[in-house]
Symmetry: D2
Subunit: 378 residues, 4 copies
């Protein structure tokens, strides 16, 4: 229902008063009511590259409620789809691009940021083309599928003088941030961290099961949640990893596309993270960090839809925070815009993505060799 | 990430292949990919009357994903607000109305349905004006604040040959429907139903605390959830009610605007519903129905945001369904459009609203007299 | 495993050291290790009257761990049963009584307290006989089945100069006590209290379904939990009650033995308690009190087995205390003994039982007349 | 309350009828009422060796409700303690032994089984002495602290022609058994198993922190739950293990007594178990097994107190079984007695303990060398 004050009510019913018997004190005074906050003086314009489920379900809707960001362009290989969503969200015809004419975006002043929402192995190309077109880049995670690509991407943005942010939306999620804070202040020495991210993958023809597009199997796409979560919550860089990967269905999971992976990270302080990702286990996504002062847990922890639940111990009791109703993409996108507008570095730059990529590659090495892989660099 | 097949990937990277070293098998074949379902041949156009929190947070966003319904007009007393949301959701300038010129909507072919999202006591006026303008009406609940108004509203729509639906969104919510089904098939004779809907109300100047606008206190605005839930789940019409209402803060809760109400409904089969609504108790919304075969519960049960949780017993164990992620307004609005398009009655017509209004009035009578009030009519 | 210090270990292995190769530093010094706390200087002796499920499953075991109480006598109509449990719990042959020779207990110095664990309507006889035999009395709840009986019981104990305590074990249960404390300090004005206690009753020949023995139906045996809980948590005496009772199966639930009862209590502060008891709904036992500062809940709340769970809100989050592992009977029995030993009144004397009995009778009156019954006395 | 039939009631009140006005139909007929099941024709007699917390809190009480087992002797180094509990549980003076005269138990026909409840490294000595005394042996877990000891224990019992059972009480726990069944029938290929067992250890002088008595740190005492759980739920023998152990407090956790351990087991089918045990993290005990068909979880999973909770997915919903109220020790002890009485092997013999001991030792090897240790034997 509309947020009415009594005076507004009286104004509104002034005309219709005869229609039904509502007692109304007629009032002639009319005032402009600034009931909607004026938009910020500056909203950055976003071009979304790739109109798949993530864009349709989450990113485009989020851009109707962002504060310092708004949708201004769409980039897609499907003209119909682009047309449909341009109309629904008020994107002008001229701001629709395809993969061929994408580079022309350089001359479009409506676009400040390019958000790359493509299969993993396409991230480098579009990040680099966007940077070369003079745009800031928000790149979905995993950042890419090799350490070299990550370095190229960072370098391209650096050269262009543009910001690069990897879309680690959980870095901007209030419960995850609180979990980290609690881990540091209440738990004491974290002994254990464990995390799982799993689902049973469907359609065998999807890009996630294509090594060329995905860069691997479940480690790339969902294992990264456990990995990044472990580093983020523990607040240290791991010194070694031991990983084991396997598949039960070789017809569906081709060479280099693991169905399951278990990996164990060792941290300098002593903490160990036991992680598990799978395309073959029923949907789970959760983590828990525990130490002498208790534990903190999120379950679900990694989904984009806004029902993350934070639980933790306090004085031996379990506290459950209400399911989050915050739109994670709105928060993430505005955080990037705000960093750009304020001219300060964003909190999850390319270097953060590079660190995960490097460890993902080390997991593959460990799984291949059967040996513990050191992550210490000189 | 976009839902790519391998072929699409190859097409898309064809142009950008030089930019970064991604192995790409160039393919010249290009095909239109109907990846977005074509919209239904007919989408009904909706005019939203009242742009308050409910419209902004829930109804306008829902209309971007409805199948047989779309937003085509806005009616508001705030030109700025109307302008802002018209732009964001692509409503043409000409389809913005205010409360004075609202009746001109009669001649606008873009509008099939008027959705009344105003304070309770304004529902009759705008429902009747909309019907007289030849539009179907979706009216927020409570339908109105007196039995006579409900009857006028029903009559006006009947005369106009237009459908009237009361926006009982839970009648269209999958878990609520399942709860009813379970209550009927698994629980056996329902002995007990209990329900609570409470929150601590803030701003003392809001319309909910103005008897002229709200028609009463918490019974009108949130007690209706417990009441409608009891009737809906038990599947019978109550034969008597005993209610007690009271307030702790007479400065905030004026005469006729109860802060708290407890009401007990007796049903023909014997079942009793214990209900409680409050503007003075911390946020709760839940119900449970129990009988020899177990119980079924929803907690939260009444909120519009999509995290309703269904729990029930089965073989002595408790089954918890995953938190709902369905948009309740999308479902409700499309259900109305579908009924209109198919020329069949909608499931929650004015008569359903009238029944609740009548019992709400009986609650007030019981609370006033201190006696049990019969609901049996001859 | 035994709580060993290293020294003890060495002592113990001194002899067996040759048997297996455990390095052991032989030590000749042997010391009395007061590892078990010496029993308190005084433990009161208890005679249990009635060896049914409650005694067998809960009360007899509890008396092996009580601090200021111990089992010294058994009273039963079944000699075999009495024999069996006397042997298992070390009760001497001479301290076994039956219902005929029970009064001889007067001359038995081993017995300080008689714990009456019989069907409801037998409580008065055995309470009075016990008091006349010069023993303190712990009487199971409900105290009795009429106001007059309650008064006789109180009077008999008063005349004998002996304490009478009604076995409201939840008055001694830590989470219930915390719930009360929270209700008073954190919730603010309690608006709503609701409670349910239900189970599907089995054997139709049991005494609970015999009006002569039980004094009524579910109101007597389990409704009392909701009733006492409401008074205890809210901390006031109700001013009126409205009750409705009914049965679905007249063959099983004879006249005067209600299967279901709903009752609504009104309290002086304004608070309302919605309560429900049933022999025909699947097992539930829970309550919740809510006010502006949040809510406190126990679910399960009333069972004797030690898994009560306390939940409450704090800063908008839900705190769950670990399931209680405290033996409720142990706590209750020792609380009575301690009161006697210290010569102070016990916290749940006959007067407390009388209050509940009076309200139980008023519930029956309301259910019979269909009217609200005042509980105000002059 | 005693389980009364109406006739019993009448009998009982016959004598006391004059005392209070209870209508009673006098009945002269008296019948022996076999209301307690006659004990089984044969109950095996148990000697408990070691009267520490586990014995006091769990094992002695359990022996008052066991069906085919009863307490007949106590073995302790503390005469006072032995005296106290002998009296409380009706153990005759002559059946109290100390560690010196323990071997005389050979000639005591009251004792069929010796239950060894001592620090880990004392298990071999007392198991072997008991077997040599001609008694069956129930030995607490971990069975012992070296593979050689386990073999000696098995051999000693074999030579004596007596059964040896390791007290894996969860092998006899209904929810654990159901979890296994569900894992095999519903989950499909188990991908992931994870388990944690942790608590913050207190008193630094306790035997658990003494390498000589405990045989190691948390791996021995609580890691065994995760290890045995993994093998038991997955139903296979692991082929390799990778373990990492560490301590934060070297003053408290001496050389060879790890505070924390993480170990990862690989199984022939591909499944991986991530396990974590700690004396330095707040109390957790849980496990989950997941595969394409869903997951099954217990949390808490390992505690002796009877509140284990089983949860699992079914059709995408989570089913929660009511907290177990079964006494795990009662079940375990009777299972051993029944096996002996029926002359069939018990389900958790010495060989089962040996398997865990061997893997525990491999964990230590892996943690020491930093390498994966193969568990494959030829």
């Amino acid at each position: 229902m509309e947020d009415f004050s009594r005076r507004e009510f009286l104004q509104k019913t002034a005309v219709g008063a005869a229609a039904v018997s509502i007692a109304a004190n007629q009032s002639g005074a009319r005032q402009a009511q600034p009931a909607v906050q004026p938009p910020p003086t500056k909203q950055l314009g976003y071009a979304i590259v790739g109109i798949g489920r993530l864009s349709i379900d989450s990113i485009l809707p989020a851009l109707t409620t962002t504060k310092s960001s708004r949708l201004t362009a769409l980039v897609s290989g499907h003209p119909d789809k682009a047309q449909h969503f341009a109309q629904l969200y008020g994107v002008p015809e001229k701001n629709i691009y395809n993969y061929q004419n994408f580079d022309r975006i350089a001359s479009n002043p409506d676009v400040d940021v390019v958000y790359v929402v493509l299969p993993n192995s396409m991230h480098p190309e579009y990040t680099i083309r966007a940077a070369q077109a003079g745009k800031h880049v928000l790149c979905e995670k995993p950042m890419c599928t090799s350490v070299a690509d990550a370095q190229f991407m960072i370098e391209a943005c650096r050269k262009a003088g543009k910001q690069l942010m990897v879309a680690y939306r959980l870095h901007y999620e209030k419960y995850t941030i609180e979990a980290i804070e609690r881990a540091r202040t209440k738990i004491g020495k974290i002994g254990m961290f464990d995390a799982e991210m799993t689902f049973v993958i469907g359609d065998p023809t999807q890009w996630r099961l294509d090594r060329t597009l995905a860069g691997g199997g479940c480690m790339m796409d969902i294992g990264i949640y456990c990995l990044n979560g472990a580093r983020y919550i523990i607040g240290e860089e791991p010194v070694s990893v031991f990983a084991q990967s396997w598949s039960y269905d070789p017809a569906k999971f081709k060479e280099g596309v693991e169905q399951n992976i278990s990996f164990v990270l060792k941290f300098p302080s002593g903490a160990v993270a036991n992680c598990f990702a799978s395309y073959g286990a029923a949907g789970m996504n959760r983590y828990r960090a525990a130490g002498p002062g208790g534990w903190v847990e999120m379950d679900p922890s990694f989904t984009a839809k806004a029902n993350l639940i934070l639980r933790y111990t306090e004085d031996g009791r379990v506290v459950t925070a209400p399911a989050s109703t915050v739109d994670q993409f709105e928060t993430e996108i505005d955080a990037f815009s705000d960093a750009i507008l304020q001219g300060i570095p964003n909190p999850s730059p390319g270097e953060e993505g590079l660190r995960d990529t490097r460890i993902q590659m080390a997991c593959y090495e460990s799984a291949f060799t059967g040996k513990v892989v050191s992550l210490i660099t000189n």
